[in-house]
């Protein structure tokens, strides 16, 4: 390893039980450089960030600054040394305001004890302005009212306003829409010009090509490549990550859809107004929109989670009772929510328990859980989706982000609903598994299942959907059908026009 006078990792290894998360990894970071860290789900990227930040120490190897080994007892030490990590899952306090969350730990005070609200608001406005986020949130807004994308932005703003010589982004864009992502990239470029060293983790390879100066590839905890970004293509990176060629990402066997399946008419809740839509068997209906457009809220309205104020929902012509997720499931509707940690997973239960949660009928005998039956259903699904874990009894909280997402999908594949609503199904998922999920969507559609695909990734919608509904301000603003689905048209209809500013209708 060449010696640098900046931060570097030297021969880092870390093991969790039987999983070798990192295996003798050495990297030297450089000021003014964007280093992209890529690898499959569970390759060890987040583990490396946690070691760098001092959440836990390595089993072997050292973190250095120049030639001096440094040991961080806890994250506060690394923050003092100028290292900041923006985590994959944002850590914000829901019942504090935006301003307090951004400036937590460094709140301006009056007379030593009182919170200086004026100063705090001024500073927050300034930070929001840097990101062009004044329209999206107000300093005094409670964070509990924010969606995942806005929470992610708060996490980013918190790290950046504190300054730092090495800032790491662990999948910052997985919950952001393209527009916010672009704003983030301009901030990252500015930081680079100011001489900050950036680590950038993402499964969106186009971003990596766009942004990175250097690309480091991890596979199963080992460093398999460390080279300049110039000349790299999505294909070459993907191949290094997975160790094989990735076939064509988007495949749809057939575009033939069958008879009417879901019929939603005039659906209205607190957050969506007067939505009507139809899905046929074997059809993929895409839903596009910016953050806060009400896409997830539409899903929650359809599955009966949010209180239905008006409208009707029918499956196969039979009305679905309002306000009962149970009724929706019985009617054959499945829903994989976007926020896996809070809305989908029982973090302290096993993979098996989580995946079999919605199929009590198929995994029980006489009202008692039957492990053998559950294994028969879940094992093939886990293998099919390459869930990476020592075994199916592993607690879900210990899985890497992408693998957690796969567990959520496994739950619904086990259920085999007639209509499956997927809210950002590939969020945080590596390119190999993504291809797998796209193939799965195609397979499900081909077998006659109707799919509603909510996604912020345009290529995904354009590549997979038969039709796309565009939403803004809780309403449907356009319906596009193949082959007239393209990015420009979607964006045109996604912009809130007469609709109130995004941040406002969230209260």
């Amino acid at each position: 390893m060449t010696q640098s006078d900046f931060f570097s990792l030297d021969g880092i290894s870390k093991r969790f039980g039987v999983v070798q998360a990192l295996d003798n990894v050495s990297i030297a970071f450089r000021p003014g450089e964007v280093l992209a860290l890529v690898g499959e789900n569970g390759a060890g990227k987040s583990t490396m960030m946690r070691i760098l930040e001092g959440v836990f120490g390595p089993d072997n190897g050292t973190v250095r600054h120049g030639a001096t080994p440094i040991v961080f007892g806890e994250p506060r030490d690394s923050h003092r040394a100028g290292i900041r990590v923006i985590h994959q899952e944002p850590e914000i306090v829901p019942n504090l305001t935006v301003a307090e969350n951004i400036f937590v730990g460094e709140l301006p005070r009056l007379a030593g004890v009182l919170l200086d609200w004026r100063k705090l608001e001024e500073r927050t406005d300034r930070v929001l302005a840097t990101f062009g986020m004044q329209q999206d949130m107000r300093p005094r807004q409670l964070c509990g009212t924010l969606g995942p994308a806005q929470r992610q932005m708060i996490e980013i703003m918190r790290a950046i306003r504190a300054g730092g010589r090495l800032i790491a982004f662990d999948e910052p864009t997985s919950s952001l829409t393209d527009d916010e992502a672009r704003r983030l990239f301009s901030v990252i470029r500015r930081l680079r010009e100011e001489g900050t060293s950036i680590i950038y983790i993402s499964h969106r390879l186009n971003e990596i090509i766009d942004l990175a100066d250097r690309i480091v590839v991890l596979r199963d905890g080992r460093l398999v490549d460390d080279s300049p970004a110039a000349g790299a293509s999505e294909q070459t990176i993907a191949k290094l990550m997975v160790g094989r060629n990735i076939a064509d990402l988007f495949t749809r066997e057939t575009w033939r859809s069958g008879e009417q399946l879901l019929d939603v008419a005039g659906l209205t809740t607190d957050r969506v107004s007067d939505v009507s839509l139809r899905v046929r068997r074997g059809e993929v209906l895409g839903i596009a929109g910016l953050m806060g457009a009400g896409r997830s809220e539409l899903a929650k309205a359809i599955v009966g989670y949010d209180q239905r104020i008006a409208g009707t929902i029918a499956m196969n012509g039979v009305p679905v009772l309002p306000n009962s997720p149970h009724a929706a499931i019985v009617a054959g509707i499945g829903f994989a929510p976007e926020d896996r940690k809070h809305e989908a997973l029982l973090l302290f239960r096993s993979i098996l328990d989580n995946a079999s949660l919605c199929v009590p009928d198929k995994t029980s005998s006489f009202g008692f859980f039957n492990r053998r039956k559950a294994l028969e259903i879940v094992s093939p699904l886990a293998a099919k989706m390459s869930i990476k874990a020592p075994n199916l009894d592993e607690q879900v909280s210990k899985l890497s982000g992408g693998n957690q997402q796969k567990v959520v999908l496994a739950r619904w594949l086990a259920r085999q609903p007639m209509l499956l609503i997927l809210d950002e199904p590939t969020r945080g998922i590596d390119i190999g598994a993504k291809a797998e999920i796209y193939r799965l969507i195609d397979e499900l559609a081909a077998s006659g299942i109707g799919i509603i695909l909510i996604s912020s990734e345009m290529p995904e919608l354009i590549g997979l959907a038969d039709r796309v509904l565009v939403m803004a301000g809780g309403r449907i603003t356009a319906e596009l059908s193949r082959p007239d689905i393209d990015e420009a048209t979607i964006l045109k209809h996604a912009m809130p026009q007469s609709a109130p500013a995004p941040g406002d209708h969230i209260q």
């Binding site: 999983v19 599955v303 809070h342 029982l346 009202g367 008692f368 293998a383 869930i387 874990a389």
Partner: protein, 333 residues
């Protein structure tokens, strides 16, 4: 490639020793409880070994923990489901009174048992409705009903102890089958039932889901309101059973004596046994070990003549200590 990994690591797991597998089955937590229990036994054994290890005393401990055992197990279910029932002690008092009065009025032990279970269930239903549909915090709601139930028990009994003169009924409390007190048999049977229910039944697993994350539970089609009310009814019926056992043992129904402070002990045992107060975590086996620790501690403190007030001090500290340990574990994982 990944399925290969799955298989490979499985082989590694199997290769580990039998002792490791035992640790895994019992859980680190339960093993530390066993160790704590052993330490208590050694302490009291060395202080008053002559009495402590006598079969009479051991039976005494067994008898002493039956009623607490039932309550600790039902409290575990409540806590796993994300709730808390502070009213159980008062419910026990209420049911001893109603059982005694029913037997006095009809002369039939069956009527007493039915009255106790029904009134317990009714008390639980009230708690469940207040908490679920009134959206009152469980601690506050059951703190309130605790006072109300005690009040009702006083009004019903006029503050007097009501004697029970049915030998058949008393047999439940003092009779023996195959050399063991009937009470101990009842504890064993309810323990098996509770364990199968919570750990193995679909309903029990859904209770873990509910307590672990109510949003997830609702998205998964679990009718969380019905589950919440059901859990409190179960807790009430269990308190009714405990009340019947207490009445059968003491031969009387009493509004306060014998049932006061049972909620503290039941919650302590459940938390000692590994329940997280946030819900979603806890086991019946753990709760029973917690009960055993409290039983031995109570018995040992009496044998070594620790004054009553200090006993209270010890019990309160134990609860707080158990919560501190539980929180510590939760934050480490």
């Amino acid at each position: 490639m990944n399925s290969l990994e799955l298989r490979a690591s499985k082989a590694q797991t199997d290769a580990r020793g039998a002792s490791a597998r035992l640790v895994e089955r019992l859980g680190v937590h339960n093993i530390s409880l066993l160790v704590a229990l052993a330490i208590l036994v050694v302490i009291f054994g060395s202080l008053r070994g002559d009495v402590f290890f006598s079969s009479r005393n051991l039976l005494n401990i067994g008898l002493g923990i039956t009623i607490l055992g039932v309550l600790a197990m039902s409290q575990t279910v409540v806590i796993v489901g994300g709730g808390l029932d502070i009213a159980v002690g008062a419910t026990v008092g209420l049911t001893t009174v109603s059982t005694a009065m029913a037997i006095q009025a009809t002369g039939s032990p069956a009527a007493g048992i039915v009255a106790g279970l029904m009134l317990g269930g009714l008390a639980g239903l009230v708690n469940g409705i207040i908490i679920t549909y009134g959206r009152v915090n469980a601690v506050i709601a059951t703190l309130g009903t605790m006072a109300i139930f005690r009040g009702i028990a006083f009004i019903m009994s006029d503050g007097q102890s009501i004697a029970i003169f049915s030998d058949t009924f008393r047999f439940i409390g003092i009779g023996r089958i195959l050399g063991l007190p009937l009470l101990v048999w009842i504890l064993v049977l309810t323990a098996i039932a509770f364990h199968l229910f919570l750990a193995r039944s679909i309903v029990g697993r859904n209770i873990y889901a509910l307590g672990g994350n109510a949003v997830v539970a609702r998205f998964s089609g679990i009718n969380i309101n019905r589950y919440r009310v059901g859990i409190y009814i179960m807790s009430g019926v269990a308190a009714g059973l405990a009340g019947i056992l207490l009445a059968a043992r003491t031969g009387s129904g009493q509004p306060v004596s014998g049932s006061q402070g049972l909620e503290l002990e039941a919650i302590t045992a459940a938390v000692l046994g590994g329940c997280a107060l946030q819900g979603g975590k806890g086991t019946i086996v753990g709760a029973l070990l917690g009960v055993a620790i409290i039983g031995v501690l109570n018995n040992g403190m009496i044998l070594t003549s620790v004054p009553t007030f200090y006993q209270l001090l010890a019990k309160g500290s134990l609860l707080i200590l158990a919560v501190v340990i539980a929180e510590y574990h939760l934050n480490r994982t």
